[in-house]
Each structure stands twice: as structure tokens, then as C-alpha cells.
Amino acid sequence: MKNIDGNTVSAVLSNVANAIEANKDYLCTLDSEVGDGDHGVSMTIGMRTARRALATLENPSPEIAFRTVAEAFADEVGAASGALYEGAFAAAARAVAGKATLNTTADWAAIYEAIAREMQAIGKAELNDKTLLDAWLPAAQALRTAADEGAPLDEGLRRATAAAWAGVENTRHLIPKRGRASRLGERARGYQDAGATSAWLIIKTIEQSLAPAAE
């Protein structure tokens, strides 16, 4: 098993940027159904800016890597997703402050929990409100359970991805309670939430990027 240091975290977050950008159109299409069609654009702008900034860092700490992403969202994004991810990545940064490596399942459980908690604090959404929390909350919970059970990191991350995807699929059956789709009520049922989908993409990319290191 390799050390997951700040450089690795930075590489992981760059992979996330690539994954988001590769799925820009898919995320926009989902957001078009009941929203304004820009979710893939907002996430791409944030993560692209983050990737550029990450590339300029020399041996960042994990905290700095996460904070750099938070700043990219703070500077460039806006929108509902921008406010949420700015806060979420800042919370992740605080959660890893002082740590040189993030090798354990518990390390990442703390990160996911910080992200989900901060998003909830900012956006006031609950589980089943058909938002990105429907991916982040189950993912954080699955990872925490894995950590409590002593599961290795790669297994924990896999479980988190699976939980996130189940959450995404579940959004299809929900009526939105937050965000611009919330005014549509019943008419928004049947559509998969864009924000939950990009959340799952992030979670899945972290898992896959860390797989070699976490084995």
C-alpha cells in the first residue's frame, strides 16, 4: 500500500476534474429536464479551475489540495452547486488539517462526513429532498460504517460509491424539495437529479483513483 499524501490527493482531484468535464453534457442534459441546463457547466468551470490551480502547487498538503478546490469554486462558480462545493471542499480541508497522509478508511470517512454535513448546513436539505445530498449522505454513512467495521480503504470507497449510486437512482422517484426544480412538484418525478449524479461521479472517481494506492 502506498502513502496517500497531498500529491496523491491533488492527483485524485485532478482526475475528478477530468471525469466531470468528460460528463459535462450528460450533467447538463439531466439539469435541463427540470432545471436550467447548466449543472455540467458549473461543475466543469469549478473543477477545471481547480485542476489548473492544483497543477501549480508543489508538494501540497492534503489540506491545501482541498482548499485549492474550494477556492476555485469560490472564485469561479456560483450557482447552487458552487456555493455547496465551495463549503464542502473547505470543510474537507478543515477535516484533514495537519495530516500528511490520508491512508485509512477513517480518514476518508471523516472527509465524506465533513462534506455531507457542511452541504447540509449550507443548503438545509434533508435526505430524499432530491439533491446532491442523496448521494453524499449515503456515501458518507457507508464509509463510516466500513471504518467502524475495520474494512480496508478500497472496500470502504467501493461501498461508498455503491451507496451513492443507489441514492442517485432513488432520486428518480422523488419530488424535489430544494433547488430550482422544487417548484415543479409532481412534474419533476421520474427525472434523475443532476447534482446527485455529479456527486456520485466525484465519489466514484475518488474510489477509482485511490484503488491502486488503497489495495
Binding site: 459535462k24 453534457d25 447538463c28 442534459t29 435541463s32 427540470v34 432545471g35 436550467d36 441546463g37 447548466d38 455540467g40 457547466v41 458549473s42 466543469t44 468551470i45 477545471r48 469554486f73 469560490a74 472564485d75 469561479e76 462558480v77 456560483g78 450557482a79 447552487a80 452547486s81 458552487g82 456555493a83 455547496l84 465551495e86 449550507i122 443548503g123 430544494r178 433547488g179 430550482r180 426544480a181 422544487s182 417548484r183 415543479l184 412534474r187
Partner: protein, 330 residues
């Protein structure tokens, strides 16, 4: 959708560069994504900050100027600005008498403006927020406070800007802003979709003979999709819905007929003609009238009708001059 743009990710940046260069006599840049009137901040005047996603010109950046707003942050296309440019606009607008925020009631905007407000208050700037909620199609009367803000924003900003220009104090500006919004209702119809440049595909598809009634200004679904009918029939539905939502009996009103982008001005005047017929028949008196493009949705075809119920104060404030990059009233 074909567009006259370069890299879509540079669009807002290049647009702001051109906007600021074209109007350097009236406005100045106060941040990478924030502008203010050239003489801001005005000591002792309550500052007015408006803003939201880009793609709606003249809303909001072109509402900045004498008699209008003091400053505005500009977000990406259809995306609320982040807290940072909102804070920059707030500082630029603050003449020491506090700052009033007015923007459309959208989740993203509320999240970001609220953050900025907290940061501004931490710096000692008093902030109050008034949300635009004029779109009658977006929620039933029982949830009127949850409605979206659309083109009626123009009338409300016109009122707030004028009130602040009279050097009224903070509480008075806030009270008038709330009154202006509470008396404003809008409903619209869209004939074609629009395309977020960096998305590249239309936000929705609509058949060649269909229209969407009550559509949101970002392409969010409306209340009903139906065949296109003669415009008089459409206007009847829009105005009757508004009149059923708020009691305009015997009132003076301001009328705003707003084009969403691609609809010719000629059609807007045909709409105004019908609005006037309806209001005349009901003895509702049109005291102020605005016909044109005041809040667009990129290249969307369609229009909305707004009515503001007027008391003497609202009337007189609407009648005051305004001089911004795209809104001029003598």
C-alpha cells in the same frame, strides 16, 4: 444553436469586457465579476445591489446607474454569482447607510447572496434582502413567497433605485422594496428554447407549433404546454391569471410587456395593445408603461406581462429618471 461567440467558457468574461468598455461613462468594474455606477459609493445613500446569473441583459448589470442599482455582481450564464463578487459589489455600493439586496428567488442566488451578506455584516455593512417573487406561474397563491423572480424585477429595481436616490433611510428603502415586490405579478410564455453556450444544446425542446405557458426565464418547465394560439388569446390568459392572483380592482397600475430575446418588438406592441384593451375594460388605469426587452433569456422567443399595483409612492418613484447602460428614462 449558432452563436456569435468565441470559446463559450470565455463568454461572460468577454461580454463584461465589452460591456464595461461600451459604458465607461456610466459604470466601472469593481471586481472581476462585479460592476458599480461610476460615482459609487454615494456617501449617505442606501446602496442597492442587484444581481444573478448572466444571460438576461439588461437584467441585472445594465440596471446599474443613476436612479437604478449602485452595483451588481455578474454570475456565469444562468448561474448565481459566488459570494465573492457579491461582496465586492456590496462594498462598492456601501455609502455608509447600508445596502439592500434585490435578486430573484432562486436557490443558488439565495445561498450565495446570504453568504455574501454574512461576510458584509462581519465587515460592519448593514444588509437587508428582498427577494423577487413575481412569477405567478411558479407557485400557488398560498406559497407566493416561494415564487421565482422574473421580469417584474425591472419594475421593482426601478422603484428601489429611485427610492434610494431620494436619500431615504435604510428602513424606508427596505419597506418600499418589499411593497414594490408584493404588488408585482408576472406571467409569461415561451415559443422557443435557449441554449447555455457552454452546454451547447437547448435547455428544452418544443415542437414547431407549441408554446410553454408560465415558463421560467432559464428554461425551467412552465405550467402547461399547448398549441400556439392567437396572441390575444395568450394575453387574455396571462393577464387574467395575474388579475386573479392579486386584487387590482380600481387600481392604478404599471404595465411591463417584456420580450425574452428573439421576439420582435412589433409583437410586444401587439401584446401591449391587448393588455390595454383588457385593463381599459376593467377600469384599471395604466399610469406607467414599459414595452421592450428588460429581462431576456438569451435567444429565447416569448414574452411576459407584468403588472405592478401602484400607490402614489410607487407611481412617483417609477416616474423618476433613470440612466443606466440600457435603461434610460428622462
Amino acid at each position: 444553436m449558432k452563436k456569435l461567440i468565441n470559446d463559450p467558457f470565455d463568454f461572460v468574461e468577454e461580454m463584461l469586457e465589452g460591456f464595461c468598455a461600451a459604458h465607461d461613462d456610466l459604470i466601472k468594474r469593481v471586481g472581476r465579476r462585479a460592476i458599480a455606477r461610476i460615482d459609487a459609493p454615494i456617501p449617505g445613500k442606501v446602496g442597492v445591489v442587484v444581481g444573478g446569473g448572466s444571460g438576461h441583459l439588461p437584467l441585472y448589470t445594465a440596471y446599474v446607474g443613476k436612479g437604478g442599482a449602485d452595483a451588481a455582481p455578474a454570475g456565469n450564464i444562468f448561474a448565481s454569482p459566488p459570494a465573492k463578487p457579491i461582496l465586492e459589489a456590496t462594498r462598492a455600493a456601501n455609502g455608509g447607510a447600508g445596502v439592500v439586496y434585490f435578486y430573484g428567488n432562486y436557490a443558488g442566488d439565495v445561498l450565495n447572496f446570504d453568504r455574501a451578506a454574512a461576510m458584509a455584516e462581519a465587515e460592519g455593512i448593514r444588509v437587508a434582502t428582498v427577494l423577487g417573487t413575481d412569477d405567478v406561474a411558479s407557485a400557488p397563491p398560498s406559497e407566493a413567497h416561494n415564487r421565482r423572480g422574473i421580469a417584474g424585477a425591472f419594475l421593482v429595481v426601478k422603484v428601489i433605485g429611485a427610492k434610494a436616490e431620494t436619500m431615504a433611510d435604510f428602513d424606508a428603502v427596505v419597506a418600499t422594496a418589499r411593497k414594490a415586490n408584493a404588488n408585482t405579478r408576472t406571467m409569461g410564455v415561451a415559443l422557443t428554447a435557449c441554449t447555455v453556450p457552454a452546454n451547447g444544446k437547448p435547455t428544452f425542446t418544443i415542437a414547431d407549433d407549441e408554446m410553454e405557458v408560465g415558463l421560467g426565464v432559464h428554461g425551467e418547465p412552465g405550467v402547461r404546454r399547448t398549441k400556439v394560439v392567437p396572441v390575444d388569446t395568450i394575453v387574455d390568459e396571462l393577464v387574467e391569471t395575474i388579475l386573479g392572483d392579486l386584487d387590482y380592482t380600481g387600481s392604478d397600475v404599471a404595465v411591463l410587456v417584456n420580450g425574452l430575446g428573439a421576439t420582435p418588438y412589433e409583437e410586444l406592441y401587439v401584446i401591449y395593445r391587448r393588455v390595454k384593451q383588457i385593463l381599459d375594460a376593467r377600469r384599471i388605469t395604466i399610469r406607467r408603461k414599459y414595452v421592450g426587452e428588460y429581462a431576456t433569456s438569451l435567444e429565447m422567443a416569448g414574452a411576459s406581462v407584468s403588472l405592478m399595483r401602484l400607490d402614489a409612492e410607487l407611481h412617483d418613484l417609477l416616474a423618476m429618471p433613470i440612466h443606466t447602460p440600457m435603461i434610460r428614462q428622462f
